[in-house]
Amino acid sequence: MSRVFMKGCEAIAEAAVRAGCRFFAGYPITPQNEIPEYFSRRMPEVGGTFVQGESEVASISMVYGAASSGTRAMTSSSSCGIALKSEGISYCASARIPMVYVNVSRGGPGVGSIQPAQMDYMQATKASGNGGFQMLVFAPSTVQEAVDMTYAAFDYADRDRNPVLILADGVIGTMMEPVELPPMRSDEEIRAIKENKRSWACVGHELDYAHRAWIEPGQWSTAVMQRTNEKAAALYESWEKDLRWEEYRLEDAELVIAAYGISARIARSAVNLLRQEGYPVGLIRPITVNPFPYKAFDQIDYRKCKAVLDVEMSIPAQFLRDVSIGVKDRCPITTCLCSGGNIMSRESIIEAAKKSLEA
């Protein structure tokens, strides 16, 4: 496979096209404009559809419609734009419609800042809309990972009939890196994927009750509503098998850094430098942030470990809450935080690590 040099947003869009995504609707917002722009060029080449929606709200509703008809569909936005999409995301989750969306997150709250941040952690992992639904949420720390996750996300979405979120950030979205692109799904494969969904897709059916397709994001019957929610809860329980995380140099670690996404990538580099200076530091990087790999924190040798250092681009800290659940009070947790648009600096992680070890 050949490597190409691509910007994160464009690589994500290309990965989606290769996965068989044939419908994209989105609305401009920085720092993810290259995703809709790329799709607007690329979709006509593969017989797909690009629509610039009149808003984020409309765009996610278009995706809800396209995905309800069996087409692999996607939208993207950033932070405050994602908040606007929460209506349609919740509808997709309630009606169990497979679709993929990407948050190239920026600062917050409110309109926040257009620079990279990790301020949407709680929104992404705990409540991406009303009603307590859940999604698989993947957090890439490289452009390559963003590509691979986007490609796989469509399979997860179809497997579960549920939305999947790629929680990226402004760094991943706007930086350029060499990537290996996954293989292009053939038109036959894409047709077969759509045909597989034909039984429930809202595109017209035989006129008998066994065959008609109803896409129901709600229920008039309380009994059916409860059954629907119980089925969804059972699905969420089944995601234990999909937990993914990275452990790095934990074996003798006296300090373990916990970080995800771009912060984890910078933290990994800090671990290497600290090791060179003789500090026994390791890293745990959740790759799925929902479900959260709490059990990764059982891998720490708490007889040696003096502290866990939570590193994230969010003030107040959010990821910290899940880290705390994983650590279960087995050692103190310290933090290294930044917010407001500045990217986490390796120096501040190194400084915080040394301070945590000396405390």
């Binding site: 509703s61 569909a73 509808y91 059916h205 006129l207 129901e216």
Partner: protein, 252 residues
């Protein structure tokens, strides 16, 4: 003996409409079903239901449907139609859904000239939520959120969606009808058929606005609501073809 009337198969056999007595929702849904049968499109149709009493049809319809988020029916229909151009797609929306919370989605889809059909049920009030003021509520008409009646100084004037859309270049066919008497019921059916045929011929965006009643939330009964509709609603919302590009094409 010739059988000249039968219940449309597009309504579930075992269901009895739960709409309020005198409500025109069931009439319109019956007409849509008859048109789909006449066009041989029942098995090729996706209905996008709005939120509110429109959404109650989910329980009665026998063919494919999807419930859109409140106001987003035209966006949902865009997603379905663009990826399934051979499917007949129509939205079924009330005035709060189409003209208030969904104004952007409705006008944007019309402006793009999306090739689907919109059935717009305009009764000047929010039905399911219990009679709140809508964008189409008449001046002076009482609503639970305008207890002294719609006051233009505070609430502005009723919105005329067909006329607003008539400012756009793309829409192909816009007609306003009612179901207050047998003649108008027949005209409504003809308008729905025209809208669907336009879509099948790839002509683009069509909307049929149907001026209807809400006996319950208008605080009257079935007959009283017809009287109110004829004396007040139809003055504010005159019936007729607002735009029909096929006539322009014929004239060329």
């Amino acid at each position: 003996m010739e059988k000249i009337y039968t219940r449309t198969k597009t309504i579930q056999e075992d269901k009895v409409s739960g709409f309020c007595p005198g409500c025109m929702h069931s009439t319109v849904m019956k007409l849509i079903g008859e048109v789909l049968e006449e066009l041989g499109q029942v098995q090729n149709t996706a209905c996008v239901l709005g939120i509110g009493c429109c959404g109650l049809h989910m329980d009665y319809m026998a063919y494919d449907n999807i419930t859109a988020p409140h106001g987003r029916a035209c966006a949902v229909a865009t997603g379905i139609k663009r990826t399934n151009p051979d499917t007949l797609v129509y939205t079924y929306q009330g005035d709060g859904d189409l003209a208030s919370i969904g104004l952007a989605e409705t006008l944007s889809a019309a402006n793009r000239g999306e090739n689907f059909s919109v059935i717009f049920i305009n009764n000047g009030i929010y039905g399911m939520t219990g009679g709140q003021m809508a964008p189409t509520t008449l001046v002076g008409m009482k609503a639970t959120t305008a207890p002294k009646g719609r006051d233009p100084k505070e609430h502005g004037y009723p919105m005329h969606m067909c006329e607003i859309m008539n400012q756009l270049v793309a829409p192909y066919y816009l007609e306003r009808t009612s179901c207050n008497n047998p003649a108008n019921v027949r005209k409504t059916k003809a308008a729905i058929k025209k809208a669907f045929m336009n879509q099948l011929e790839g002509k683009g965006f069509s909307m049929v606005e149907i001026v209807t009643n809400c006996p319950t939330n208008w605080g009257t009964d079935a007959l009283g609501s017809l009287e109110y509709l004829e004396q007040n609603m139809l003055k504010e919302f005159p019936l007729g073809v607002i735009r029909d590009k096929s006539l322009e094409e014929e004239g060329k």
